[in-house]
């Protein structure tokens, strides 16, 4: 990357609009979850701690019919289809 390319890309990073950035990312195949589809893992982890590591499915997961909830515990991961 020569100096000209470097300056050009820095200018573009600074000036590109959020909408244009989103369009370009999706055109490149990136997918981002919608906010409303994402469950707060930290909150779930907190709930797990309070339950003394006995994970339970929070009411919100049941009500909102999430497809998948990821339970994370130390180095292990568990997938649960809700």
């Amino acid at each position: 990357m020569n100096e000209y390319l470097y300056q050009r890309v820095l200018e573009k990073i600074a000036s590109i609009s959020d909408e244009e950035l989103d369009r370009s990312l999706r055109a490149a195949g990136f997918e981002f979850e919608r906010e409303e589809d994402v469950f707060d893992i930290d909150a779930l982890w907190g709930a797990g701690l309070k339950l003394n590591f006995e994970f339970a499915v929070p009411q919100e997961v049941i009500e909102k019919e999430y497809d998948i909830v990821i339970f994370a515990a130390n180095d292990d991961s568990f997938l649960l289809a809700a």
């Binding site: 990357m1 390319l5 890309v9």
Partner: protein, 188 residues
């Protein structure tokens, strides 16, 4: 700038390329993203790299047999301008690239935290393709580790770059007419 490139493939595919054009590799896990790949001069002999690649790629690991028995190595000159090429064989260019990458990723992920998971190899391919498009360049030259046949057989990985590769976007792949410089049998 003219860069001499070598491309190893099945002989039937090589003849098709000569009759038509190079086609881009667009698998989800290609090292430098979508594009036409050439071995070029750098840290190894590019003709030998293309030969080894053509032989290694013949093997179909599912059906446990070769997909083709005859391979060819094509040579051509790729025409590039300095501002079209992201040359990551130059240390200063790598420093600038990594700085630009960090700034771009900061910008992307400042508001978008929930990136759908894909494998690390697929991520690398997607990011390379994206950055190349974002920067408006059409080619990337980089040192890569490509597993030689003995390491494939032994299922070993020694991840030290052993080739120099040029990846050019298909739409901007301006080459001289390719010529076959080597032919052989995969099992020789």
């Amino acid at each position: 700038m003219l860069v001499e490139g070598y491309h190893g493939t099945a002989t039937s595919a090589a003849k098709s390329i000569i009759a038509t054009k190079f086609n881009e590799s667009n698998g989800p896990e290609h090292w430098l993203g979508k594009g036409v790949y050439f071995f070029v001069s750098g840290i190894s002999d590019p003709e030998e790299d293309a030969t080894n690649w053509a032989k290694a790629q013949a093997w179909d690991n599912v059906n446990k047999q070769n997909r083709y028995n005859d391979y060819s190595v094509l040579r051509c000159e790729v025409n590039l301008s300095d501002n079209e090429l992201l040359d990551l064989t130059i240390p200063a260019a790598v420093t600038r690239f990594n700085d630009a990458k960090t700034k771009l990723l900061d910008r992307i992920f400042s508001k978008r935290k929930n990136f759908r998971y894909v494998s690390p190899a697929e991520q690398s391919c997607m990011l390379f393709s994206y950055m190349v498009t974002f920067m408006g360049v059409h080619a990337v030259r980089h040192y890569l580790y490509i597993k030689p046949i003995p390491e494939r057989v032994l299922q070993l990985i020694l991840n030290v770059p052993n080739t120099t590769v040029l990846c050019v976007s298909e739409a901007k792949c301006n080459t001289s007419k390719p010529e076959i410089v080597k032919e052989g049998k995969v099992n020789e």
